[in-house]
């Protein structure tokens, strides 16, 4: 960031800066063409087959709700990209930034337009990944990396839970299309799996939309550059969870669980976050907590069912996106112009930054809920919705009143105090106004807040009514947005809000000191997260020490013990222990071969010489090869012979250099080892006998024998299976061979310099 005015002009982003803006703007224009369709009460649906065998299709659905979101995302996206083009002008990694932000915007659009559950999930995860990259854009700092990772873990874990819920929902409903699912509300609500599905889906929505107790990642995500915060925390990322809850509203809402979960979680988050917002001194952090408040309020509204609450939901959704994006961008201008975001330092900026001050004032008035701004209408509707709530009206009204009054105070702290109080502290550099491209966004969004307040008809018919109809179906009862609704309870509550808010604003200095002390004493979720991660790491190293002691003998013992237990257990549980084998047809040649192999095996276990042990094993291997020859399987026999030869060579190469067996002491008689090997031998024998006792299913064998020549033009059935019928399997196998060879090669090479070659030090750090 520079102090000179002249560098504010965009320089050098060129096409990289302009293409994303053009993409976003044309998307916005494209979505505007849907406005007449939606206003007429129709919906649009586009379908492409994707994975038809799994009933996954790339289907998009445009109704009031998705269009509202799509317009907010593309519209605010355009302004944010325009803003970022100046804000990060000349940044060496601007190209990367533009790519991340554009990808994020597209993923978000996909999320809100997707009709298929799996497609929705894919877009959901794409927003998780792209937002991770955006939050971690300042990856040089530990804080940036930590915040990004935290957001990724929390929302990613939630997304996994969500996936389980979506799959369960898809199979329960028999369709993966949301537009179909939403038509079967009554059936779903009485289904036995309703509660599990609801819990899983809400877990995904609550983590994404940072509802208590998953709220802690959101303020940390402020490590991102300001344009990112403005985009992610006004209209997009964090609203994805709210969107999901609204999307499944027709199918899931109205039950006791739904009403109370959403009301309590939303209400608590709203009040808790607005109290914490007042405690912050960094303006961007303050806004982060007000975002939590907005998400809580939206969740709370979705818990209800009346026409007022639903209308309030949509109105507040639009209102919040407008003023929050504007305020974030405004803070970026302040940061850019003064070098700080500390509320205690900033002051008297109205003279140096008049346009920013103007935008801030308009946005803050909407946030405070003063007439004639659209924020006022949203607040009135929210109060009206609280009063007809199916949950507790007292609880709802109290939570709304507390949160709104605190918002009023916070609006003053964020947008009034820095500009209009006479003087501030020493700022890093002399305040100066931002450039035109950076001012367009905040001003336009703030002015829209006023325009929609004065002329609510602009959004009423086009967006709000279709969305409410989408929620409530035939019984929809969208309320009219009006500035003056007469003397009624919501108005009195508004007046109370202003009065309490004003008191809070005046007393916010001492209040903040008190909150800071209280906050220090309260449990800290962010630190809890760290302890959780540390605990996880400690557990990982503990269990690695247990499972991976680094001694080959233990590994082999464990492997064979598992084989013994798994196979032997299965034999016993399935009651499949075979009877006495049929010894008829065994010739003296077979017996001689057996005797030879058994003596080879015995020799291996009793000898002191490694070479003798090798030779003993070789006898067993060659014996197996001879068996293959006796039973006319030349291909297998050749392979066995060759592999056996190579193994002997390889092991001999290694063994020649090792001390004799006696010296290592490893080959002293061990009863446990003897027992284990006898057990494994017994179980394998039993299994082979059991296999032989069952008649062989010759269908595949016959098929391959018959078709090998006419279809694959080969008479060696074994090879035809390998290279033609089962070529994909073979390809997988040779890939494994290559990977194994490369890994072994790498291992041999890296231990080259080690003190004990090939044997890791037991106490290696």
């Amino acid at each position: 960031m520079t102090t000179s005015d002249t560098t504010d002009a965009p320089r050098g982003n060129g096409v990289t800066g302009l293409v994303p803006i053009a993409v976003a703007a044309s998307l916005f224009a494209y979505f505007c063409t849907f406005l007449p369709v939606i206003a007429a009460g129709d919906v649009a649906r586009l379908v492409w087959e994707w994975v038809p065998s799994l009933s996954i299709s790339l289907s998009f659905y445009v109704d009031g709700l998705s269009l509202t979101f799509a317009l907010l995302i593309s519209g605010i996206g355009t302004l944010v990209l325009l803003y970022a083009n100046s804000y990060l002008a000349g940044h060496p990694q601007f190209g990367r930034f533009a790519l991340f932000l554009t990808s994020f915007m597209l993923a978000m659009l996909g999320l809100v337009l997707a009709d298929n559950l799996i497609a929705l999930f894919v877009f959901w995860e794409l927003t998780t990944i792209t937002s991770y990259l955006l939050i971690g854009f300042g990856h040089e700092t530990t804080k940036g990396r930590r915040s990004a990772l935290q957001a990724l873990f929390v929302t990613g874990a939630g997304a996994l839970v969500l996936l389980a819920g979506l799959i369960l929902l898809g199979f329960t409903a028999g369709t993966f299309e949301l537009s179909e699912i939403n038509k079967m509300g009554p059936e779903l609500k009485s289904h036995a799996l309703y509660l599990p599905i609801l819990i899983l889906i809400l877990a995904g929505a609550f983590t994404k939309s940072a509802q208590f107790p998953f709220h802690f990642w959101l303020p940390n995500a402020m490590a991102a550059p300001t344009p990112v915060s403005a985009f992610l925390h006004s209209a997009t990322m964090v609203k994805a969870g709210v969107y999901l809850m609204a999307r499944v509203y027709p199918a899931f809402s109205g039950t006791e669980v739904w009403i109370w979960t959403l009301t309590i979680a939303g209400g608590f988050t709203a009040v808790f976050a607005s109290i914490l917002a007042l405690r912050q001194t960094d303006l961007k952090q303050t806004l982060a907590y007000t975002t939590l408040m907005a998400l809580g309020t939206l969740t709370m509204m979705l818990g209800q069912s009346g026409g007022y609450a639903m209308t309030a939901f949509v109105t507040f959704l639009i209102t919040h996106s407008l003023y929050k994006a504007s305020l974030f961008l405004m803070i970026g201008c302040v940061d850019h112009g003064t070098g700080t975001r500390e509320a205690d330092i900033l002051g008297g900026l109205a003279r140096a930054m008049p346009v920013t001050a103007f935008a801030a004032a308009l946005a803050a008035l909407s946030m405070a809920g003063l007439p004639p701004f659209v924020g006022f209408i949203a607040k009135e509707l929210a109060y009206a919705g609280s009063l007809e709530a199916p949950s507790s009206t007292t609880l709802m009204a109290a939570a709304s009143l507390a949160a709104n009054a605190l918002m009023f105070a916070v609006a003053g702290v964020v947008a009034f105090k820095p500009f209009w109080r006479p003087t501030g502290g020493e700022m890093p550099h002399k305040p100066h106004e931002a450039g035109g491209a950076m001012l367009l966004g905040p001003v336009l969004l703030a002015v829209l807040g006023l325009v929609f307040g004065l002329m609510p008809g602009l959004i009423q018919g086009a967006l709000i009514n279709p969305t409410v109809v989408g929620f409530m179906g035939e019984t929809a009862d969208p309320k009219t947005l009006k500035l003056w609704a007469g003397f009624n309870v919501p108005l009195y509550l508004s007046l109370a809000t202003f009065a309490i808010g004003l008191v809070l604003y005046i007393g916010h200095g001492p209040l903040r000191a008190f909150l800071t002390r209280a906050d220090a004493a309260a449990p800290n979720f962010d630190r809890g997260w760290d302890s959780f991660l540390n605990g996880l790491k400690a557990f990982a190293s503990w269990q690695t020490r247990i499972i991976q002691p680094g001694v080959l003998r233990y590994y082999i013992f464990a492997t064979f013990a598992v084989v013994l237990i798994a196979l032997g257990g299965t034999l016993i549980l399935k009651d499949a222990i075979p009877g006495a084998p049929d010894l008829e047809g065994i010739t003296w040649k077979n017996v001689a071969l057996m005797v030879l192999m058994i003596s080879g095996a015995l020799l291996t276990t009793v000898t002191d010489s490694r070479i003798t042990a090798m030779a003993g094993l070789g006898v067993v291997g060659m014996g197996v090869a001879v068996i293959f020859i006796v039973f006319a399987a030349p291909d297998v026999a050749i392979t066995q012979l060759l592999v056996e030869t190579l193994v002997v060579v390889l092991v001999a190469v290694a063994l020649l250099r090792l001390p004799s067996l006696k010296m290592t002491g490893h080959f002293a008689f061990r009863p446990l080892d003897a027992l284990l090997s006898a057990g494994v031998g017994l179980v394998v024998t039993l299994i082979l006998l059991a296999v032989l006792a069952t008649p062989i299913d010759r269908r595949l064998t016959d098929y391959f024998e018959v078709t090998s020549w006419p279809e694959a033009f080969g008479r060696n059935v074994v090879n035809v299976i390998l290279v033609d019928f089962r070529a994909l399997d073979t390809f997988g196998e040779i890939a494994v061979v290559v990977i194994a060879a490369l890994s072994a090669y790498a291992l041999l090479r890296t231990t080259d310099k080690g003190p004990a070659r090939g044997i890791p030090e037991a106490d290696e750090k």
Partner: protein, 142 residues
């Protein structure tokens, strides 16, 4: 190992083994053999060479890094499988070309060429390269 007999014998034996391994590879579709066995025999040639002479000389005789041979083999096998897509068939469907096939004798297919053979050559190279890479690395390590 410093056995003059093994040293001299290896020179001829290794060449013969390579030729034999190619023979095994090519006959594999109709008689016992194939890429897997061929690759194993080919590898023994160089393993023998490394024992009889030295790993250094064996590497020089091979000219290419064995792990590269293995990876090239994997690539060739994959290409042979993908080639089916050019003819509109599913992945790894064998494609055949018979040069001079007899009209009357259904067992006389003339000279058969196929992606299946190319796939088998890939298998041969993978086995050949992987084993040699391992043996060479172990011999040099010790």
């Amino acid at each position: 190992m410093s056995s003059i007999i093994l040293r001299v014998g290896t020179r001829y034996l290794a060449g013969l083994l390579i030729i034999f391994s190619l023979y095994m590879l090519l006959r594999g579709h109709n008689e016992p053999g194939g890429g897997f066995i061929g690759g194993l025999i080919g590898a023994t040639a160089f393993v023998l060479y490394a024992i009889g002479c030295s790993t250094k000389e064996a590497r020089e005789a091979l000219r290419v890094q064995p792990q590269n041979i293995a990876m090239a083999g994997l690539g060739i096998a994959l290409l042979a499988g993908i080639a089916a897509a050019l003819f509109g068939d599913a992945l790894f469907t064998g494609q055949w070309l018979f040069i001079g096939a007899s009209e009357t004798d259904k067992f006389d297919k003339g000279l058969p060429l196929s992606t299946v053979l190319i796939f088998d050559i890939g298998v041969y190279l993978v086995v050949f390269g992987s084993i040699i890479a391992l043996v060479f690395a172990m011999e040099e390590e010790i």
